[in-house]
């Protein structure tokens, strides 16, 4: 096996050195009865050439991967500068472990420190951790953290949070006696409804909203923060499209207590849903309640600056069952990719790309709204996603759009909401050319008529 340095000859000699006659004897401590006799029935060994051919073939069967696409809903197609993938592929980053030995891990540690800083700057918060698995688990952990901070058990979550995020939160909190109450979405605005907010009371640990929400509508976060704080609840803001940070008022500036987000938009491929990177930020006063890893500044005897993993007493390897979370391995390399993306785009680029997304979506929305029998049900301001109401079943419409026009037109909301057969969610980014958008509009028109 070409990945194993020691040749069979060398291994035979080493066996002798350790006093064994055969490789089988290495496993003497495993009861004979538990050792498998015959070979595993996994696929036979193949060469690089064959393997690449096989995977290319599989990939070719993902017919959607090569079409213009308007799918968003939690995973966004943005352009990633070439240097991002190049730099994360440096062996020194990519084949290193979690930086347990700071003297030979400063590269990773400094990068995480920069990541934490950038996330604070974008979210407008005081402190951010080294990453969570993704946005959905970050949200679930935020709810658990709110319970730790407030010692309250009731959590109001907007129904316009990504449905899969809600499912994950349900799974995480089910054994904590936390009840998640849904606040309905206003059918006219597409924002969290007034009735929903009336659920807020002195037992409420947190109000959870997503903005831009799942339907692409931008919530008035400041107003929501006031409502939550009025009853002593925390405001948790979830963001699935992190590019929006370059355009919308930061949750921190609006009074959010915890901000969680999906960082995939920062130069990470959609890659069928993962690996992504969860962003988690909060206020200084809650720093010691944070889940996950934190990197901090430190100095050596000669006063040289370096960085270390810190506040580890929150973590499982020390606190065990009393830890703030069970997370250990997180999404280091993806956080690094996001860091490189953010720094490459920089202060101007992060704003320009966000504005382009908003402009493309505005253009697309305007064009689709003009189509006969198509409408945009929601009135709230939007960033780069919006719901379209079609004259026919959206699932059918979109699959024909794919087959006949080779365009992935968006997400049929019936995937999550059985009662919304004709609605679909359209997302536009800087990667969607005007030509693509016009083709989408023409396609919708021709198929629906």
């Amino acid at each position: 096996m070409r990945y194993i340095p020691n040749s069979p000859e060398e291994r035979a000699e080493m066996l002798k050195t350790v006093g064994l006659n055969s490789a089988e004897e290495l496993f003497d401590s495993i009861p004979i009865g538990l050792r498998i006799r015959e070979q595993l029935k996994t696929p036979p060994a193949i060469s690089e050439m064959e393997l690449i051919a096989g995977f290319e073939e599989l990939a070719a069967r993902n017919t959607a991967a090569h079409r213009p696409s308007f799918l968003g809903a939690g995973a966004y197609s943005h352009y990633s500068p070439t240097i991002v993938d190049h730099l994360i592929s440096r062996s020194e980053f990519f084949t290193a472990y979690t930086p347990y030995q700071p003297e030979i891990s400063q590269g990773t540690l400094q990068a995480i420190f920069e990541f934490q800083t950038l996330i604070c700057q974008l979210t407008g918060m005081d402190v951010a951790n080294a990453s969570m698995y993704d946005g959905s688990t970050a949200l679930a952990e935020a709810v658990l953290m709110a319970e730790r901070v407030t010692r309250r058990k009731k959590v109001i979550t907007s129904a316009a949070v990504h449905p899969e995020y809600l499912e994950v939160a349900d799974t995480y909190v089910q054994h904590y006696g936390i009840e998640l109450k849904l606040a309905e979405t206003d059918a006219q605005t597409g924002l969290i409804s007034a009735e929903g907010l009336n659920e807020l009371d002195e037992q409420t640990a947190a109000l959870v909203v997503q903005s831009p929400n799942f339907f692409g509508c931008v919530e008035d976060v400041r107003a929501l923060a006031e409502r939550a704080h009025a009853v002593g609840a925390l405001l948790i803001v979830a963001v699935t499209e992190s590019i929006s940070f370059g355009f919308l008022r930061s949750p921190g500036a609006c009074g959010a207590d915890i901000v969680v987000a999906e960082g995939q938009s920062f130069g990470v491929p959609v890659s069928f849903g993962g690996p992504f990177v969860g962003l988690f930020a909060t206020r200084d006063k809650y720093a010691r309640q944070l889940p996950g890893r934190l990197v901090g500044e430190a100095f050596d005897k000669q006063g040289r600056r370096g960085f270390v993993l810190t506040l580890a007493t929150r973590e499982q390897h020390i606190r065990r069952e009393k830890a703030t979370s069970n997370i250990c391995t997180n999404e280091g390399l993806i956080a690094l990719a996001a860091t490189i993306y953010m720094e490459t785009m920089g202060r101007c680029g992060l704003q320009e790309v966000a504005e382009q997304c908003a402009q493309k979506a505005a253009y697309a929305a305007r064009s689709i709204a003009r189509l006969e029998n198509f409408s945009l049900p929601y009135s709230a301001p939007r960033f780069n996603e919006f719901v379209v109401r079609a004259p026919i079943e959206a699932k059918e419409l979109l699959s024909r759009l794919g087959m006949e026009k080779n365009i992935t037109g968006g997400l049929a909301l019936s995937r999550y909401y059985k009662d919304r057969p004709n609605d679909f969610l359209v997302c536009a980014t800087e990667t969607n050319s005007r030509k693509e958008i016009d083709a989408l509009v023409a396609g919708l028109e021709s198929i629906a008529s």
Binding site: Q101, H317, M342
Partner: protein, 509 residues
């Protein structure tokens, strides 16, 4: 410090580099976007000013592409990595990460595939997931596989929740309410109790015997109260020893009405040799980022598949990837499922790599890797036993634990030995874990190291043992060869500085 015994490393010049924020210069740009090709809409018509960002991203760096490339290239050189040499972190299985796997994971048909693509347009990805499930099922001897968990701890949480759901279904809500105890050996990894807690279990700790195994008597005793939902066991355990009584252990737990969860982080000792499913284990997680060589990336991403018996399958997370004839689809209508543990389908990119690993090795190669990994650990064990205290008699599997007992007499402790190892050109082993072994040094060479380097490692450790006697100061002040010395972690935790701030702001704070 220039010990003549240091054969693996030498100091050389490396570049300094400040924080990117300190490099930033107004007006620098590292990007270029195509010109906007649609009519502009007035921003106020898109989103009112009151909801728009108004700080012009104050503080976010402004740098050129060249700045970014030099910044990260420079700081990268401050890291040790697998590609630079042996990385014997016990329990972490730092094996070779093939570039072939990176290449296939980047094939556009995978990388550009959106997770919400309709099933019929994503058949290749679904088939890949299905084939990986099949291989992992064959390797573990467990038929139910979910690739959704993003890491080991996530897989633990999933598995433990499955146990809970199963018991609830079996005993009914009422009765099961009295089964909320999860037994965990004192040698277990911290994620185990944390995951159990996350699933609402009370953790009871099982003692290990003096010779490093689960204490069966204590287990029986703890199982006697009728409140045991399950046991979380690592096998080989975190001392690198195979729990030879595993079958009996499972029997005891099963007889007590509990289920057995196996932490599969140490599967690198078993692949192709023995299967948890055959041992009586009910549910297990794997770390694809360990055993199956997906790169650790300085702290993830990982992938922690949860594998369980047929009996537990109904409780696996949704959606599941299933095969209908020659089509693959997502199955979400599974009423007994514990629910979803992550958006979409888990870390797909890691699955691509893991399947490439399995196909590259083949059945023989998988077993060969296991043999080589165990042999390397044995070789190191034998090489060090003369100079270091080996607390357990039993022969280790893929990793071996030593202690600083002999060296500490001279005031040299595990931490010092680890730091001194850096001067010898090695990444230190895992230290102070497992917690039950005072001054533990857990060494896992993996199969990816050749004999010459193993010999260098053994020689380095022996040399350090000599230094501990003859010249303890050198060891106590190590490392001597690195850009920075030991950092004051206590101070860092006392007044944590967790982000960069502009000078003024910083001093203001």
């Amino acid at each position: 410090m220039n010990s003549t015994n240091i054969t693996k490393a030498t100091s050389h010049i490396t570049q300094n580099e400040s924080l990117i924020f300190e490099r930033s210069q107004t007006g620098r740009k590292g990007y270029r976007l195509p010109p906007l090709d649609v009519e502009e809409t007035p921003l106020d018509e898109i989103v009112p000013a009151s909801l728009r960002r108004d700080d012009d991203l104050e503080g976010v760096p402004e740098v050129s592409e060249v700045d970014v490339v030099r910044h990260f290239t420079r700081i990268s050189t401050w890291n040790y990595s697998i590609d630079l040499g042996m990385y014997p972190l016990g329990s972490c299985t730092m094996k070779y990460n093939s570039r072939l796997n990176e290449k296939v994971a980047r094939i556009a048909g995978f990388a550009n595939l959106h997770p919400l693509t309709p099933e019929e347009d994503a058949q290749g990805a679904l088939q890949l997931i299905y084939e990986l499930q099949e291989s992992l099922s064959e390797i573990t001897g467990l038929s139910g596989i979910s690739l959704q968990p993003a890491a080991g701890a996530h897989g633990e949480m999933t598995g433990v929740m499955i146990i809970r759901a199963f018991i609830d279904a079996r005993d009914g809500a009422g009765a099961s309410a009295n089964r909320r105890t999860m037994l965990i050996p004192d040698s277990a990894h911290g994620t185990n109790p944390a995951s159990a807690n996350l699933s609402g279990f009370t953790v009871k700790t099982i003692r290990s015997t003096a010779d490093g195994f689960t204490d069966l008597d204590h287990l029986r005793e703890l199982c006697a109260h009728g409140d045991v939902a399950g046991l979380m066991l690592t096998n080989p355990n975190t001392l690198g020893l195979f729990e030879k009584n595993i079958k009996e252990i499972c029997q005891i737990v099963h007889d007590a009405g509990g289920l057995v969860y196996m932490d599969g982080a140490n599967m690198n000792a078993l692949v192709g040799v023995a299967r948890p499913g055959d041992m009586g284990v009910d549910v297990i997680h794997l770390n694809l980022h360990k055993t199956f060589s997906t790169p650790h990336g300085g702290g993830g991403p990982g992938c922690g598949p949860c594998c369980c018996t047929k009996e537990l399958e109904p409780f696996l997370p949704v959606p599941r990837v299933v095969k209908d004839g020659d089509k693959f689809r997502l199955d979400s209508s599974r009423p007994q499922s514990i629910g979803r543990v992550k958006a979409f389908f888990g870390n797909f990119g890691m699955m691509v790599r893991a399947l490439a690993y399995i196909q590259t090795h083949g059945p023989d190669g998988l077993r060969e890797a296991t043999e080589a990994a165990v042999l390397n650990a044995r070789y190191v064990a034998q090489g060090l036993v003369s100079d270091y205290d080996k607390p357990f008699e039993a022969q280790p599997m893929h990793e071996v634990v030593f202690t600083d007992k002999r060296q500490s007499r001279k005031g040299v402790h595990t931490l010092d030995i680890a730091k001194r190892l850096i001067d010898y050109g090695f990444h230190p082993m895992t230290i102070y874990f497992p917690l039950i072994v005072q001054g533990a040094m857990l060494i896992e060479p993996t199969e990816s190291v050749g004999r010459a380097e193993l010999d260098q490692f053994i020689e380095a450790m022996r040399s350090i043992a000599r230094e501990a006697l003859e010249d303890p100061e050198t060891v106590l002040n190590a490392p001597h060869s690195t850009r920075i010395g030991r950092l004051d972690e206590a101070a860092a935790a006392r007044r944590p500085v967790l982000r960069w701030k502009p000078k003024e702001a910083a001093s203001a704070a």
